[in-house]
């Protein structure tokens, strides 16, 4: 007769690390699909707006400089949202695959936090892949500098965290049937009114829009990227954009973890 074996306590960090290793393992298997999914949209945009239109003389040369940070911001944001929201909708909606992780001996919020971190990593990787492709398509870009690497890193990490947490909130709060709606009603407007394809300063021409876009988290990633990558050109102050991202991060982090807990524990 066996005794009741009581396995020893496990540190939350050990479990977190194991969960992250699992996500990395799965992501590596799916890397080609991941790249196609995240690269398609920026490549198309870059080709049309960063290559064709400038060739035709339809936009002025400076546009490419304004476009690049925005394209990076959109890729980062979209990839971070999708990497968390889609698996959450699937797992809680029908596959129930996440059940085995919900039984891990760790506080439930740690499991959600790991998912957000994994989403951040995927967002950052997407941005890293887009950068050389953009250079390839658009050729040399005036005024682009990596001299402020600390700023670039800060905006990237904050942006990825904000959108990964938003992905958690959306993915656990939306019914599986409405996932298509999420993209057309929330994500698409966010992309177009997030100052990604035009600089915020340019909206001086349409003052109402200049304030409306401030409710869009993507605005701060786009402008933060501009502040970090093309600091010579007009942009929102880095202090403002990073502070706003910090607040947005905190809000969606709390909302995302709470929403995850509600779905996980009945």
């Amino acid at each position: 007769m066996n005794e009741l074996v009581t396995p020893g306590p496990v540190s939350a960090l050990t479990v977190f690390w194991a969960l992250l290793r699992r996500d990395v393992r799965v992501a590596r298997k799916e890397l080609p699909f991941f790249l196609v999914r995240t690269m398609m949209q920026p490549v198309l945009f870059l080709t049309v707006f960063g290559f064709l239109l400038p060739k035709m003389g339809m936009v002025r040369g400076g546009y490419q400089t304004a476009l690049l940070p925005g394209i990076l911001a959109v890729s980062l944001a979209l990839s971070a949202i999708q990497s968390v929201a889609l698996p959450m909708v699937q797992d809680f909606g029908w596959t129930k695959e996440i059940e085995d992780r919900l039984l891990a001996p760790v506080a439930t919020w740690v499991i959600a936090a790991e998912k957000i971190v994994a989403g951040m990593l995927q967002g950052i990787i997407a941005a890293l892949f887009v950068l050389p492709i953009a250079r390839l398509i658009m050729g040399p870009i005036a005024n682009l500098t990596f001299g402020h690497f600390g700023d670039v890193l800060m905006v990237t990490v904050l942006g990825a965290a904000a959108f990964s947490s938003l992905g958690m909130w959306l993915g656990t709060g939306i019914a599986p049937q409405q996932i298509g709606l999420m993209f057309s009603v929330i994500v698409a407007p966010m992309m177009f009114f997030g100052c990604a394809y035009y600089p915020w300063r340019g909206l001086d021409a349409v003052p109402v829009m200049k304030y409306v876009v401030l409710i869009n988290p993507l605005t701060y990633v786009s402008e933060g990227m501009r502040g970090a990558l093309t600091p010579e050109l007009p942009h929102m102050s880095l202090l403002v954009s990073t502070s706003a991202l910090l607040v947005i991060c905190a809000f969606f982090w709390v909302a995302g973890l709470r929403s995850f807990y509600k779905r996980a524990i009945g």
């Binding site: 007769m1 066996n2 005794e3 009741l4 074996v5 009581t6 396995p7 020893g8 306590p9 496990v10 540190s11 050990t14 479990v15 194991a18 969960l19 290793r21 699992r22 393992r25 799965v26 298997k29 799916e30 809680f92 909606g93 029908w94 596959t95 129930k96 695959e97 059940e99 085995d100 992780r101 919900l102 039984l103 891990a104 001996p105 760790v106 506080a107 019914a175 996980a264 524990i265 009945g266």
Partner: protein, 343 residues
């Protein structure tokens, strides 16, 4: 030693009120997709649904314990609470000495859970499913590999280690779920309707696996709505319905409590009350009752009195549409207790 104890466990689900942002009905933590944890009773206009109404249970260490009841009885909710996936509205529960509310992490460390529908991690292959699950429990990789390989061998899936999960049959997937539930060597194992959807052969194979686990001294708690499964496997059974405990005893004693005689059920073409009065007066009839259009007769002479019962029924002005015979068993006890059949 007590492995599991519940005291006055209650669970009330608020029902979706279709105004403002409608809240979803809670989905069954281990249930099939899209199936609500709520019994059909939720369909009426009530504001809340009582899934469990003061459940007191005690399961001893090493016991094979069965929770028997129809769909919506509260079995899955009970399992959800004991496995820390559902928070009880009231009452207390502890598993292997750890309180499910105050120490859910301690509970999870000590339990293994086999869901109703196999939910392997499809991003990983068969071996990885086990190895990563071990990692969540802090088991070192080399040790995890050794255990995973041993379990796959034990369950006759040694050659499937590198297979994709989707390549497994339903029975194999369910065995993988059991292997996963065992790999961190928990003392208590929960199984939610583990054989639903399996073909008879796979079901028998799974029974063998469960018997072996029981012999190894593990505490096993299983929900089922199959009488035969409960009779075959469980030391002790709790019969629950509509969130209440109706009977709790060893399988043998419960069978002995089953009302004597064969149960003959006749579907009539109208209310069965007059027919019941007629039949009650007959020889060999220990009990006759009307449940709507159904006439329930307990016969001490097996099916031999059927023709006489039909005659009496027709004399009472009713026609018989259908007849069912049930030998004394947990099934008849269940019908006696709940007034309805299991499925």
């Amino acid at each position: 030693m007590t492995a599991i104890r519940t005291e006055g466990l209650r669970k009330i689900y608020p029902l979706a009120v279709p105004k403002r942002r409608g809240r979803r009905a809670p989905s069954a933590p281990f249930g099939p997709p899209g199936q609500s944890a709520l019994p059909p009773a939720a369909a009426n206009g009530a504001r809340e649904l009582v899934a469990l109404e003061g459940l007191d249970l005690e399961v001893g260490e090493g016991e094979f314990f069965g929770l028997l009841g129809p769909n919506g009885a509260g079995k899955t909710t009970t399992l959800g609470i004991l496995t820390t996936r559902v928070v009880a509205s009231a009452g207390r529960a502890s598993v292997a000495g750890a309180d499910v509310i105050n120490d859910p992490v301690g509970v999870r460390r000590r339990i293994g859970v086999v869901p109703q529908r196999a939910n392997p991690d499809r991003g990983l292959n068969v071996l990885e499913n086990l190895v990563f699950h071990s990692a969540y429990f802090g088991i070192a990789r080399a040790d995890a590999m050794r255990r995973a390989v041993a379990l796959l061998e034990q369950f006759g899936m040694g050659e499937k280690a590198d297979a994709k999960v989707d390549a497994l049959s339903g029975g194999q997937q369910q065995r993988l779920m059991i292997a996963r539930a065992l790999i961190h060597e928990p003392g208590v194992i929960f199984l939610d309707e583990p054989t639903v959807g399996l073909d008879p052969q796979a079901r028998l194979a799974l029974w063998d696996v469960l018997r072996t686990l029981h012999r190894q001294g593990r505490t096993i708690v299983m929900t089922t709505h199959y009488m035969e499964e409960a009779e075959q496997l469980c030391d002790r059974l709790a019969i629950i319905d509509r969130g209440r405990l109706l009977a709790l005893d060893t399988t043998v004693s419960l069978k002995a409590k089953a009302p004597g005689g064969t149960l003959i059920e006749l579907d009539l073409n109208g209310p069965a009350d007059d027919a019941a009065a007629q039949v009650r007066a007959m020889d060999y009839v220990s009990k006759a009752e009307a449940v709507g259009d159904v006439l329930r007769v307990h016969s001490a002479a097996g099916g031999r009195i059927i023709s006489a019962v039909i005659e009496a029924t027709e004399a009472a002005g009713r026609h018989v549409r259908n007849i069912t015979l049930t030998e004394p068993s947990l099934e008849t006890l269940f019908i006696e207790l709940t007034g309805r059949k299991l499925d």
